[in-house]
């Protein structure tokens, strides 16, 4: 069943995108556009790998990656929330910073491989019962724990954002900070918490690449996936549940060319690489045409909040 094998691989290819996209959704939902996803992912990738190597403990490695990503988020939050710096510029410099830091910290990791027990921790296993669901079982439930964690995060984030009071408050901060402030919500705390948590998720996305996907240190392992995640946020209209579909869809697109070459169907890789952005533009056009409130970007996105100006 070549198609099942392919879809199974598509889920794996989409997982780093999923984590980064969820992280960026959290960040953008409180009104901050963080273009530093690529940098945050690389910081997470190097920290996760280094800690995994030193401690031989998968939990520590994941924790380290999340903390590194959150640290990047902290820099971003401090500059854009507390100092009200330009978000685009800050995000871009964070990309450069993260790339540099990971390259520097990774110098000594060259050629190193993830320790065996950490690698074993991330081995694929089947989930009883669920694996017997026809077709879907083998695609979704014969994966490694990191991928299951991805499903879990997407569901939890969806519930958090749409079914809890905190989620409501958080969306309000992103949509209309003045109103949120007036209703007694602490804007800065909300922004800091979500930007840090979003950064942590981006860091985990990077760690998936360095710990699980290619479990040997390779400089610049993300190779531009952070940018695809930024586009994916728009594609999924800031909704974590749609982000799951989008991430796996783009993950599949990324690798479909290799499977098609066998049948002498050659889609130029350049077209394939272009597709995520093309799809994003189409979604943007559709959003602006349908004017559905639900699919709009958060209204306060990109604007620093000055209490004095409200």
């Amino acid at each position: 069943m070549a198609i099942i094998v392919f879809l199974n691989a598509a889920v794996q290819a989409g997982t780093p995108l999923l984590f980064a996209t969820l992280g960026e959704i959290m960040t953008e939902k409180v009104g901050n556009l963080n273009l530093g996803v690529e940098g945050l992912m690389l910081m997470g990738a190097v920290a996760g790998f280094e800690i995994g190597l030193v401690t031989s403990n998968a939990y520590m490695a994941l924790l380290g990656a999340a903390i590194a990503g959150a640290f990047g988020g902290l820099i971003f939050a401090f500059l854009t929330v507390s100092l009200k710096a330009n978000q685009v510029v800050t995000g871009l410099s964070l990309t450069i910073l993260g790339t540099g830091l990971s390259g520097f910290a990774g110098k000594s990791l060259m050629g190193k491989v993830v320790p065996e027990n950490v690698g074993h921790f991330f081995k694929a296993f089947e989930i009883p019962l669920l694996k017997d669901i026809p077709i879907l079982g083998q695609i979704l439930f014969n994966q490694n724990i990191f991928i299951y964690f991805g499903y879990f995060m997407a569901v939890v984030l969806g519930i958090y954002m749409y079914k809890t009071r905190w989620g409501l408050n958080m969306r309000m901060v992103g949509e209309n900070p003045s109103a949120a402030d007036a209703s007694g919500i602490n804007i800065n705390i909300y922004k800091y918490v979500h930007i840090l948590a979003g950064g942590a998720l981006c860091g985990l996305g990077g760690a998936y690449l360095s710990l699980v996907y290619v479990p040997a240190w390779q400089e610049n392992v993300t190779a531009g996936r952070g940018w695809i995640a930024v586009a994916l946020v728009i594609f999924s209209t800031w909704n974590p549940n749609k982000a799951v579909l989008g991430a796996y869809f783009f993950g599949g697109l990324d690798i479909i060319g290799f499977r098609l070459q066998k049948f002498d169907i050659s889609i130029s890789q350049y077209i394939v690489d272009m597709f995520p952005y093309l799809a994003t533009i189409i979604v943007l056009i559709m959003i602006s045409m349908r004017k559905s409130r639900e699919n709009m970007p958060p209204e306060g996105l990109g604007n620093p909040y000055f209490r004095e100006e409200r």
Binding site: Y213, V214, I255
Partner: protein, 373 residues
Amino acid sequence: MFKKSFVVFMSLLLVLSMLFVGCAKEEAAPEETAPAAEEAAPEEALKVGFVYVGPIGDGGWSYSHNEGRLYLEEQLGVETLYKESVPEGPEVEKVMKDMIDQGAKAIFVTSFGYMDYVVNVAEEFPEVTFMHCSGYKDAPNMNNYFGRIYEARYLSGIVAGLKTETDKIGYVAAYEIPEVIRGINAFTLGVQSVNEDATVAVRWTHTWYDPAKEKEAAKALLDEGVDVIAQHQDTAGPQQAAEERGAFSIGYHTDMKDTAPNAYMTAPIWDWGPYYTEQVEKIMNGEWTNEPYWGGMEDGVVKLAELTENAPEGAQAAVDEALQALKEGTLSVFAGPIYDQEGNMMVEEGTEMSDGDMLSMGWFVKGVEGKIE
């Protein structure tokens, strides 16, 4: 109160992180290395510059050139300068001029895309010698040099051909350019020299450097039933795929034993050191000419890495035999009869392909499964 101390804390954090970044930069990009032993230096000390397209830490192309630089320093005690990750654009002219300002009298420029810029700078600085890797243009003070890595790929093909049980071998390749096509053809001819039935399936990734993507291409091949993976890519991604599936692999650029201990068998590798030393010696003695260089196994500029215990029985003997024949000149990789995928005779029996034809190769030999777009 809380707010104030918080701001102070954050500012401290920021300053510290800036400091850290500052240190990082300083360490990450050392452009100049300490002068080496004085006693070996000739009367007129020569400074040699190196321009790399990637980071030394790529473990691949730029790494191999840097190893050559270190060898040169050790052998001749000359002072060297280098610059990593220089884009293949006008920027390289500035980098070269900087090096000349710092006293460089010879510069090795190690990527194809620099070619035209090297020609420009060579014209402007006739007293400086330029050596450009993998290009085809030259000037009175500029040559081009490259290695016949396809000979090493032929040898690695022998190992793969002996190893495969499914008679299907996978090859993850970057771009449809003559250099890569030549490598695939040489590899396939090596495979077929020991295993006539085996075929080589090619997957194009259209990237030199994307570990995850390269691994996916290898996984697609493994899903089709290949049991040996070879690569013309700059990362160990394909090796990882083979390791994970219990298949076997041929690396590239450097020894990848540690990355895939249960899969990796051998790799075609570069060894620039002796060539760099020879060229710099010639410059110092005033004997340098702009003659192009395309060295092979007999010069040692390309090599086959030591076989690991994953390599099949008898591979060492078969490789040694072919290597001997290559060095003696009794074996030539692209000697006829060679057929293309449709079975047309491309190189007639008793003849050999010319260097010019090899450099512009745009077709696959029989036994390759794949298409050149």
